[in-house]
């Protein structure tokens, strides 16, 4: 049967000034007005939020919906809209800054460092659990449902092929090609 190549290199969005493929499993770090991956695989500029705030949001996004086969750049792309939105929406900016601030305080108390410095997902998730009913967490989680999973660039990573009408549907492209069922 025809299967989808999940390793296919996908086109990247321009706001991420990419130098190559993203690397999964690294924590985004901040430098100047830039948020970037440690290896410089991708970087993005923030205008309204502190780079450290954005970096924390990206890590938080990954901890909420962890997919080991997705690079951080997909999570970064899901979060970038908050920087622009924070420029015109003071309440949102406040919500995000305070939310990250409280998350860092909780991390300090439990682990002696900010959220980004907590090395294990399990420990970061435990911190998120304590705020999951709050507006800050719910805003980030709710936004991710479309912000992450509605990125056409990542669909192939899940084996989903997206629009098909332009390709003539699947009538000649494997709608019934399953070949492993036992009679």
């Amino acid at each position: 049967m025809r299967t989808v190549d999940k390793k296919t290199k996908v086109s990247r969005r321009r706001f991420l000034q990419t130098a190559g493929a993203g690397t999964a499993g690294v924590i985004a770090v901040a430098q100047g007005a830039l948020v970037m991956s440690p290896g410089g695989a991708w970087a993005m500029e923030v205008k309204n939020l502190q780079p450290s705030t954005m970096a924390t949001l990206i890590q938080m996004a990954r901890d909420i919906y962890p997919h080991d086969h997705l690079a951080d750049s997909y999570y970064a792309k899901a979060m970038i809209g908050y920087d622009e939105a924070a420029g015109s929406n003071g309440d949102l900016k406040q919500l995000l800054q305070n939310g990250v601030g409280e998350l860092n305080s909780a991390a300090q108390a439990a682990h002696g460092g900010n959220y980004l410095s907590v090395p294990w997902e399990e420990d970061r998730v435990a911190l998120l659990k304590t705020i999951e009913a709050e507006a800050f967490f719910q805003t980030i989680r709710g936004g991710l449902v479309t912000g992450l999973y509605n990125q056409p660039e990542l669909w192939a990573k899940f084996g989903y092929e997206g629009p098909s009408a332009e390709e003539g549907g699947y009538i000649d492209r494997g709608f019934d090609d399953i070949d492993w069922l036992e009679a």
Partner: protein
């Protein structure tokens, strides 16, 4: 050559809504030479405007006006402002329906007689039976080109169906096939055959699936006896001192209000908006709303027992390829109270694209258990359960005490709680589906909670006696002779089948009756 009618023309039949009920009724009346105006709240998006994109189409065609929810159903928590997933556009929900076209079983018209009295359920027999509707079912199947009727071949089975069939065969189910679908398996009625695109819920790009948008409506318009006015939100039905309806007040796209006069008004705005309109049309003469002497307007809201189950396999399925719902097991559709509930349910294939799967998999959930399920997306096969739910008086559409919509009218509140029968049936259905997938080799099975309802029924129900319901066996108001209900809200009970075929059959039958009454000058 579509005609336009004057606002002051009081000889026209005005139909509110252009979906399975309204669109079909409009064409039937026009074919009889009856001047008809359809007022449709949504815009007109032809096939060219359809996109293979779940969220874009959701934004483009869904009914997203403010609504509120209450009751113990999980939808009230997960989707508090979106109790129903239905369409606001010319063609109504026939734009996004899946095409499953099943007749009710004989006993489903006679539930009070068959099931007896059930505590908490407001059961009532329909004032018509399968024999009354059979000729109209036959006509509807021919008109819609339903597969496995009229010598039309079934659709070919896709991967999702093949997994279902493998499990069904192992379990000994006998009634499993690719469904009775209003989707062309071969060219018919100037429409081509299914191209196995997927995206049935986003509007059929090939036009193989029947929708009033590109069948009934243009056919009606060609007669020169039908005008379809899109972007026309009806606000109120007006009546005279005799208690007969005389016209409808509506707002156009710019919000300007107009009064379209009418000889007859037929309400077909789906089971939330239809009762809401009758309630919002209250007057000094009808203080509880139009057609509501029984107090049943808005009550007995049904949305079917639903639930979905996905099997996860160690090899790819790619369920999203091809027709969304062309697969059914009907063995559990019988009434067999020994199972712990009355009525029955159909098991139907269903798939969602990755974006909707993420939204519906387990709303609100996060973390590894969620993402590990989603990581198996291309290894999933999916089924949806559709079963009869119990009518309950307290499940109802009411007007919100203080929240208003963009026209200043109270928004609807949709209250629904499961009856114990509904919960027992869901439990049985989920277990049966899980067994089916395990028989086919699933390594894991996940249950999705019910999502916003596409099947909405019963809020203006049909009854033999005026005190028990809102309309008579023709869908005509017990109280107001020139007011009709033409959508699924007239269902007395929900049956265990997808409702569209029954809505179309009722509209065909109602059109004949309206024609007779107009000829006799009875209305």
């Amino acid at each position: 050559m579509a005609k336009t009618y004057d606002l002051n023309d009081d000889s026209v039949v005005v139909i509110i809504g252009s979906g399975a009920g309204g669109g079909t009724l409009g064409n039937e009346l026009a074919q009889k030479g009856i001047d008809t105006v359809i007022l449709e709240a949504g815009g007109r998006h032809e096939i060219d405007a359809f996109e293979n994109d779940e969220w874009n189409m959701f934004s483009k065609i869904s009914w997203l006006d403010p609504r509120s929810t209450s009751g113990n159903w999980r939808v009230a928590k997960d989707f508090a402002g979106l109790p129903a997933w239905i369409v606001k556009a010319v063609g109504g929900s026939t734009v996004h329906w899946a095409g499953a076209s099943l007749r009710f079983q004989a006993h489903e018209f006679k539930v009070r007689s068959t099931y007896g009295e059930i505590a908490g359920a407001n059961l009532l027999d329909w004032p018509i039976g399968l024999d009354d509707l059979a000729p109209y079912y036959a006509k509807a199947e021919d008109k819609m080109g339903v597969t496995r009727t009229n010598g039309i071949e079934g659709l070919p089975g896709n991967n999702n169906y093949k997994v279902m069939k493998a499990g069904a065969d192992r379990l000994g189910y006998k009634q499993c096939h690719t469904g009775r679908m209003a989707i062309n398996s071969a060219p018919r009625d100037d429409r081509g055959p299914c191209q196995q695109i997927g995206f049935c819920f986003q509007g059929c790009k090939s036009g193989a699936k029947w929708s009033t948008l590109y069948t009934e409506i243009p056919k009606g318009e060609e007669t020169g006896k039908l005008e379809v006015r899109p972007n026309s939100q009806v606000l109120k039905i007006e009546h005279n001192a005799e208690g007969k309806v005389t016209g409808v007040l509506y707002a156009d796209a710019e919000g300007n209000q107009h009064l379209q006069r009418a000889r007859v008004v037929a309400v077909a705005g789906n089971s939330i908006e239809s009762p809401r309109l009758l309630l919002n049309s209250a007057s000094a003469m009808f203080p509880d709303g139009l057609a509501n002497s029984s107090g049943q307007v808005g009550r007995n809201y049904m949305r079917h027992m639903t639930g979905s189950v996905y099997g996860i396999f160690d090899k790819p399925v790619n369920m999203y390829r091809g027709t969304t719902m062309a697969g059914i097991i009907s063995d559990e559709a019988r009434n067999d109270p020994s199972r712990g509930f009355v009525g029955g349910y159909e098991m139907e294939t269903l798939s969602l694209g990755l974006p909707f799967m993420a939204a519906f998999l387990n709303p609100g959930a996060w973390g590894r258990s969620f993402t590990s399920a989603l990581d198996a997306y291309d290894h999933m096969a999916g089924m949806w359960l559709v079963g009869e739910d119990m009518p309950q008086e307290s499940n109802r559409i009411t007007l919100h005490a203080n929240e208003k919509d963009q026209y200043g009218l109270p928004i609807p509140v949709v209250t629904k709680s499961d009856h114990p029968m509904d919960a027992a049936m869901r439990k049985h259905g989920v277990a049966a589906t899980a067994k089916c997938y395990e028989a086919a080799g699933a390594t894991d099975v996940i249950e999705l909670p019910p999502y916003p309802a596409s099947h909405n029924m019963g809020t203006n129900r049909m009854s033999a006696k005026a005190r028990d319901g809102v309309v008579n066996k023709w869908g005509q108001s017990h109280d107001i002779p020139n007011l009709f209900v033409s959508d699924g809200s007239q269902f007395t009970t929900s049956g265990g089948q997808n409702p569209t075929l029954t809505i179309v059959a009722l509209a065909l039958r109602q059109a004949e009756q309206i024609g007779r009454l107009l000829n006799e000058r009875a209305i």
